[in-house]
């Protein structure tokens, strides 16, 4: 079984802060990580491979340093990696990203059985690239998968919903986005870590993918960022301290004044 896992390198948002004067993210020194949900997608692929054999290809689109994320994925057990990278792809929104990743999928020589994505990327939180690629590539899509088993014709998938879960039978090839509840990523092995360091990672750019250039990068993106600003902080807040009984008394008085009690 051939599985492709799409992984994104993201800044560790736990460690990002904002400069309140300039409204810019302080990104200097913030480590890059594999998008946490993509780790769950990778682990789902590894478990399917443990059971059924096959090959796992990880694909990432991003600047040259996204290669690190791919090497990390190899050290956890992925077999091959491809980096999609080109200046002209820069500034892509989810539409243009979906289009570009799909071109790379179409260039793979072995037929793909399953394409896995994280539920969403933690930098943008959009959860759009998975469904976008699935449509462009022409395969059925199940979002929010927490479990996946192989069946005769494809897969049986458990999908987390707002109130519980659904079970789907889906034909192969198929695409899934994977939630955190699915699993947690195994440790890398020392041997694989060594191999990952030396692995050849092809870089595919405009020359290799031959895109319609009106559909890539900033130009191909329907959405634009109009402005960014710091989230508002509450200004007229009241901080109480002292004896618990007094604090609570004052709080309750104020809450009643505001008519919320």
């Amino acid at each position: 079984m051939n599985i492709v896992v799409c992984i994104k390198q993201v800044p560790d948002s736990d460690k990002v802060t904002i400069d309140r004067e300039t409204n810019r993210l302080n990104r200097a020194g913030v480590p890059s990580i594999i998008n946490p949900f993509d780790e769950n997608a990778l682990e789902m692929a590894l478990q399917l491979k443990d059971k059924h054999g096959g090959k796992i290809t990880v694909i990432s689109m991003g600047p040259p340093q996204a290669e690190e994320a791919l090497r990390t994925a190899l050290s956890h057990g992925a077999d091959e990696a491809i980096l999609i990278s080109d200046r002209k792809f820069g500034g892509a929104d989810t539409w243009a990203t979906s289009y570009t990743i799909t071109l790379a999928l179409k260039k793979l020589t072995d037929p793909v059985d399953l394409i896995l994505f994280g539920k969403q990327a933690i930098d943008g939180d959009t959860a759009q690239v998975g469904p976008g690629v699935a449509h462009f590539y022409g395969v059925p899509m199940i979002t929010y998968a927490k479990a996946c088993e192989v069946t005769d014709k494809g897969f049986r998938v458990q999908q987390v919903t707002d109130h519980g879960y659904n079970v789907w039978d889906v034909e192969k090839p198929a695409a899934l986005t994977v939630v955190k509840e699915a699993n947690s990523l195994r440790m890398p092995s020392l041997k694989k870590k060594m191999a990952a360091k030396k692995a050849e990672i092809p870089v595919w750019g405009v020359e290799q993918l031959q895109p319609d250039e009106t559909k890539i990068g900033l130009n191909g993106s329907p959405t634009k960022v109009n402005k960014v600003f710091a989230p508002p902080v509450k200004l007229n807040k009241e901080i109480l301290s002292g004896e618990p009984a007094d604090m609570v008394k004052e709080l309750i008085f104020k809450l009643r004044e505001k008519k919320v009690l």
Partner: protein, 332 residues
């Protein structure tokens, strides 16, 4: 093609039951309609739409695109995205709003790539720029560290998803009327590539966080799983529900149904009481829009105090039981 420009709300439903977010979107859509002069419409794909029409009108839809087919009774991505993309092509709406539910988050991105439409996920604020005639879509990014306003200047429709409980729902009246446009569809040509074999509802009824007026949430600061009893005590006294931070859910102290935040539920109660929660951005992303926030934390520098209206600095093990006691005294 319509002569007058339109704003659409995708009226998500399953088995004839509408999702609550639809009414929140219509309520917000009314404001956008007033500002833009566009007509507010609902798009209802179902097996039998009629029983749902009155409520859609009551919340402000002036027109309903009614699409019926037995295959549309429950959500299936291939069918619903085809129906929606075809209708958009035929009618050219300016704006389309979807709930950021499991359904909306499958449908909207699929429809966006079927056309060449812009889509902004999880908006927390929508506004209309009358000068440029475009939708201003504001949302948090980088886990809530920064807010971004996204626009879609050249492509139509402009589409957004919005999580439930971000906007307030407000009925116009009980007997609004409007136009129903029946749309014929033929789904027989679409190959059935996926089939739902089971649907399980497991939401525990005591955890109705989305509807609660008062929420008391516990974080790692409560110290031990059994201390959720203290949190429950205050929630009970206030007649509210119990929430939790991810740290406590990950530790196995409470079920994930209680989790509030970026990867949990978005809540918008009258009062949110955060007990022993540091206020990580991912937590704030789920509760920041509460009307009033009370933080109880022993660390004066905890970021939760940045978003609080009232902050109580001290040990929650003393403050929370005292709070419960005084509320109960008030009631008797």
């Amino acid at each position: 093609m319509s002569t007058k420009k339109e704003i659409w709300v995708y009226a998500e439903q399953e088995n004839g039951k509408q999702a609550g977010v639809v009414f929140e979107l219509l309520s917000e859509g009314r404001k956008l309609a007033a500002k833009s002069g566009f007509t507010l419409c609902a798009v209802l794909a179902s097996a039998n739409g009629k029983p749902m029409h009155q409520e859609l009108f009551n919340y402000g839809a002036k027109k309903i695109y009614n699409i019926e087919d037995p295959k549309l009774d429950t959500y299936q991505n291939d069918y619903c995205s085809k129906v929606m993309a075809d209708l958009i092509k035929a009618q050219n709406p300016e704006i389309v709003l979807y709930g950021a539910s499991t359904i909306g988050r499958s449908l909207a991105p699929t429809v966006a790539v079927m056309g060449w439409a812009g889509l902004t996920a999880d908006c927390t604020e929508l506004d209309f720029d009358t000068e440029r005639g475009i939708l201003l879509q504001t949302r948090p990014a980088f886990g809530g560290n920064i807010m971004a306003t996204i626009i879609c200047p050249d492509h139509r429709p402009q589409m957004s998803t919005v999580r439930s409980n971000v906007f307030k729902k407000e009925r116009v009246s009980e007997h609004e009327t409007g136009e129903v446009v029946d749309v014929k569809v033929d789904l027989s040509g679409i190959k059935e590539r996926m089939k739902r074999v089971e649907s399980v509802v497991e939401e525990i009824n005591t955890v109705d966080l989305k509807a609660a007026d008062y929420i008391v949430s516990g974080g790692r600061g409560i110290g031990a799983p059994e201390n959720f009893k203290v949190i429950e005590g205050l929630a009970g006294a206030l007649g509210g529900a119990v929430g939790a931070s991810r740290a406590t859910v990950d530790a196995g102290w409470i079920s994930h149904h209680h989790q509030v935040g970026q990867t949990g539920k978005t809540v918008c109660p009258l009062v949110y009481v955060a007990c022993g929660i540091s206020g990580a951005i991912q937590h704030l992303a789920g509760m920041q829009s509460a009307d009033l926030i009370i933080a109880i934390n022993k660390d004066r520098d905890a970021p939760i105090f940045d978003v609080a209206d009232f902050g109580l600095v001290g040990d929650l093990h003393q403050i929370v039981p005292e709070f419960t006691k005084q509320i109960n005294a008030l009631k008797s």
